[in-house]
Amino acid sequence: MESASLSLQAHSRWKHLETVFWLFALLSPWLLAKHALIINEIVIVALFALSLDLILGYTGIVSLGHAAFFGFGAYSAALFAIHVMPDPLLGLLFGAGISLLLGALCSVLILRGSDLTRLMVTLAVALILKELSNKLSWLTGGTDGLQGVMMGPVLGKFDFDIRGITAAWYSLAVTFLLFLLIRRLVHSPFGATLTAIRDNRLRAMAIGIPVSTRIAVIYSISAAIAGAAGALLAQTSSFASPDVFAFDRSADILLILVIGGTGWLYGGIIGAIVFKLLQDVISSITPEYWTFWIGAFLIALVIVGRERFLYPWKWFAKR
């Protein structure tokens, strides 16, 4: 018999392709310096998608309002830079921490009810926050948002530059570290109990898993990571507006997971790359109708199947 330990740990071992991918990703701000701005955007969206996948793909909790935490992190980081200090890393920690608290608070709302109620409740939270960011203009700048947020240099050394190279590098480094953390988490006993909850909640309880507590914990972690992604956006664009809470943002991130695949660490990342590049390319050709083409792409993806669409060489593989 093959050893249990080997089989169990096969999933968590680093593959060569992963190493190559991350080496390229971390070097990309220099290799593709002209595209640093879009790299930064992709990275932030990928991190946001990863955060949603933790609850959606790994735990089976649906959400239509994950932008609530993204936006909360963005505003928190921007306000921290304006009122406390401009250090990016402390601002990032603050943004993630505040979102973690909000996530813990909101987790109460998603424990009961069906998927449909969860969709509605999460949507409602994001809408409420968006309205608050509009109304509390003394704090948030209202519809104009918080503009010209001045950021200090990263680690006290690297100033944000106009070409966005430091920004891209900063977002990449943060995302990579958080990715390592998430990777650990999903392959751990804790991660396995989340999958158990997703697959069969009744049985998960029957083997002694405190289901509600586990969901609350992962929901808070997911919120914190979404908050970190939001903080990165606010810090690297020196800007936070009510748009960060927008429904589109929550919906886009779901689309990205659908494109790349849920319950798979690279699903959100691949989805983010594909989605953002498509958006970039199509909107440069036809700025008004790019959503039409995204829609057409999604329909094609569903009909052909993700496997064969993203990995065309599988067209010819034996099935």
């Binding site: 018999m1 093959e2 050893s3 249990a4 330990s5 080997l6 089989s7 169990l8 740990q9 968590s12 650990r184 988490l185 392959h187 751990s188 006993p189 804790f190 991660g191 396995a192 109990t193 999958t195 158990a196 997703r198 697959d199 069969n200 009744l202 049985r203 309880m205 029957a206 083997i207 002694g208 898993i209 405190p210 289901v211 586990r214 914990v217 319950g263």
Partner: protein, 256 residues
């Protein structure tokens, strides 16, 4: 709770469960001694599974209370009853479809050893858990399919896994809800052997329609009809009981 010389580990007192106007369980009392081999029988719809759901906390009783090792657990959530040693299997397989049998057992054992919150170590990193996994896979004839996703397994293998999961929790009280239901003849013996080989100190409550198994296994039986206890006693007494015969042979209109 030492009523006799034997220690009572699980006792239910006056359990009532109503769904709207329907009484699914009507004033059922039941007790299990340490090491009991107790069978719960009754016709379809007699409320056997409802009773298991009440005992394990999936359902809350309308009235009555449940004691485990002398402690009132009536209001405890299901997972805490498991922590206190009461584990069940399900009549209809409740498995983790996307996981392999190996992963399923490793995760169950991790949870059992209170490693369920460890996020910094990889699953499979613990020597003790890995060894126990291998033992269980061997014992339940799952070794050769241990790396296949559970949803692709044959029914008999899934049934074995269903019971292996419960045993991984090292129960002190084990509630078996029709363990051999639907298992093909060839795989039945494997299952029966594991059920008979359960450690002596484990108290077992068995729900089963298969009378051969019941009479071989049980030292004490409770007959449930229409949500209430018809009678209780040792297998000989039950076999001779006219009322029980009537219920099973259907000469009385008592079919539930």
């Amino acid at each position: 709770m030492n009523t006799t010389d034997q220690e009572i580990v699980l006792s239910a007192q006056g359990l009532v469960k109503r769904f709207g106007g329907i009484t699914a369980t009507g004033n059922v009392s039941l007790s299990l001694c340490k090491g009991a081999r107790h069978a719960l029988i009754g016709p379809n719809g007699a409320g056997k599974t409802t009773l298991i759901n009440l005992l394990t906390g999936v359902l809350q009783p309308t009235e009555g209370s449940i004691f485990l090792n002398g402690q009132d657990i009536t209001r405890l959530p299901p997972h805490q009853r498991v922590h206190r040693g009461m584990v069940r299997t399900f009549q209809i397989n409740q498995l983790f479809d996307t996981l392999t049998p190996l992963q399923t057992l490793a995760l169950t054992l991790s949870q059992h050893y209170r490693h369920g919150m460890r996020w910094w170590k990889a699953l499979g990193n613990n020597h003790r858990i890995n060894e126990r996994c291998e033992e269980l896979l061997e014992q339940f004839h799952l070794a050769e399919v241990m790396n296949q996703q559970t949803r692709h397994l044959a029914y008999g293998k899934r049934r074995l896994l269903e019971i292996a999961i419960a045993l991984a929790c090292e129960p002190r009280v084990l509630l078996l809800d029709e363990p051999v239901a639907g298992v093909p003849a060839g795989e039945r013996e494997e299952l029966l052997a594991t059920v008979t080989a359960l450690p002596e100190e484990v108290s077992v409550l068995l729900i089963e329609h298969d009378m051969d198994l019941v009479f071989n296994f049980a030292k004490c039986m409770t007959v449930l009809v229409n949500g209430t206890v018809l009678t209780e006693g040792d297998p000989d007494a039950i076999a001779k009981n006219e009322q029980v015969k009537a219920v099973y042979l259907g000469t009385e209109a008592a079919h539930g």
